[in-house]
């Protein structure tokens, strides 16, 4: 076929450019992922006792996750288009992470010296990042699938951003079941779990989002 014929064909009855529903699709995928990770966390691990929700611990995790979600989803949205600047969104993600790390460090310093290790490692440090990543996998597949229908051209970066969003959503679900209470624990191990999910996304991105 001649390229000119193709061009005529494409233009004929083309109408105005269709909407490009980046936010709607990503939000739907993240919501679905949150639902899945919450259900998984509640079924596999079991919910925290109701009394725990009157303490600050679950809310710290939740606030951290919500702030991170704002940055990560902005990043994912920008990477869903061929050319959009990602600098602000990346700065937001890194900024929230550093803020949390700082908060963790401050609380750790305020902790009596003998208890610092137990505050940092808690009871579950070795399982937390892995569990978090596992709980994020449904969200990750939903978000990658949503992104694939958009127009990502920087696939590794886009995959990483998708992984971050999924990790954050998984962290929200996990916080319903996670017994840890220290800020330092959340700053280190939650962040690691979210980053792990990001790396899984980065690895999957170029494989599943080709178009």
């Amino acid at each position: 076929m001649k390229t000119d014929t193709l061009i005529e064909m494409l233009a004929r009855q083309a109408g105005p450019a269709p909407d490009f529903p980046v936010r709607r699709r990503l939000a739907a995928a993240a919501a679905l992922g949150f639902l899945a990770s919450s259900v998984l966390a509640l079924v596999l691990i079991g919910p925290l006792p109701a009394a725990a929700f009157y303490t600050a611990a679950p809310w710290i995790k939740f606030v951290y996750a919500v702030l991170l979600l704002a940055g990560a989803s902005a990043l994912a949205a920008r990477l869903s288009r061929p050319v959009s600047s990602t600098i602000t969104a990346r700065a937001a993600v890194v900024g929230v992470f550093l803020l949390m790390l700082l908060a963790g460090a401050v609380t750790l310093i305020a902790t009596p010296e003998g208890e610092r290790w137990s505050a940092l490692l808690g009871q579950t440090w070795w399982i937390c990042p892995w569990m978090l990543m596992m709980l994020s996998l449904p969200a990750l597949s939903a978000i990658l699938w949503a992104m694939r229908s958009l127009a990502p051209t920087r696939l590794r970066q886009a995959g990483f951003a998708a992984g971050l969003v999924a990790g954050v959503v998984g962290a929200m679900g996990y916080s319903l079941a996670c017994p840890e209470t220290s800020v330092a624990f959340v700053a280190v191990w939650y962040s690691l779990g979210i980053a792990l999910t990001g790396w899984v996304g980065q690895w999957l991105g170029p494989k599943v989002m080709r178009w």
Binding site: I7, P16, T86, R154
Partner: protein, 259 residues
């Protein structure tokens, strides 16, 4: 011009001699760029994902195309290509068929010379890739953001398509990132051959019937969506959906078709 990424993530670069309006010379950490006919010296961070410089886009998927778009934004102001394309494109986006046709022709010419340069060894693939990219641009035209130069948007997608072809062909070039943009091809358009190996007409036969008929009526016979709707008894929105799905399917077929 290509930058090679060596294993281990360290950025080392090499010179690939090539004629062209933009010449780049790489040293270990500094890069000299001939830009607008003067050399500028820019420093790269060793081991960094991206150079500090706003002028040199870094490697493959790790690349951040904002850098390119910033660059193109500057260039774009002086560029005939962008200034000729943008008004056409904006009119096309709001539904002007004729402008859309003109814009696509303009783009096709650029794409041809861009791909030709990067597919020196695969000249047969050039026109196929031009057509594949045009289809991709059409299917994703909603993703264009009017605050950005059209040429940057086109380049983002074309580069993606080029990389995709390299990966499919399993070529070593997949490791390289072409860092020159459409703008740098001052050698203007390449009217050259415009016949692709892949024949969309025959691929059309492989589509599901509803999609094929919707495309034939609106895209080949030129019926309006309303006319196609009354002729087939299917709602207008269904016709639009079938056309879109059909073209998407077609794009996937073109991509898979061995040539």
């Amino acid at each position: 011009m290509r930058v090679q990424r060596l294993k281990g993530g360290k950025r080392k670069s090499y010179v690939r001699p090539q004629a062209g309006p933009l010449a780049i010379e790489w040293y270990q950490e500094d890069v000299h760029v001939l830009h607008n006919s003067h050399w500028t010296r820019q420093r790269l961070h060793n081991g960094d994902q991206k150079p500090i410089s706003k002028k040199i886009p870094p490697v493959l998927d790790g690349c951040n195309q904002t850098i390119i778009s910033d660059e193109l934004k500057n260039d774009a102001q002086h560029s005939d290509f962008e200034s000729g394309l943008k008004p056409l494109w904006l009119r096309a986006q709001s539904g002007d068929e004729l402008s859309y046709q003109k814009a696509l022709r303009l783009i096709a010419g650029r794409l041809r010379s861009y791909f030709r340069r990067h597919l020196m060894n695969l000249p047969d693939d050039v026109e196929d890739l031009v057509q594949e990219t045009l289809l991709a641009l059409h299917l994703h035209r909603g993703s264009y953001d009017p605050t950005q130069p059209v040429s940057a948007w086109v380049l983002g997608i074309s580069r993606h398509k080029l990389m995709d072809l390299y990966r499919r062909r399993g070529r070593r070039e997949a490791l390289h990132e072409p860092i020159d943009g459409l703008e740098e091809h001052l050698a203007a358009e390449d009217p050259g051959e415009t016949l692709a190996n892949v024949d969309l007409h025959s691929l059309l036969q492989e589509l599901p019937k509803a999609q094929r008929i919707a495309i034939e009526m609106t895209k080949l016979e030129g019926l309006s969506v309303a006319q196609a709707s009354t002729r087939t008894g299917v709602s207008e929105s269904a016709i639009k959906v079938q056309v879109h799905r059909g073209l998407k399917r077609l794009a996937a077929l073109v991509r898979k078709e061995p040539t």
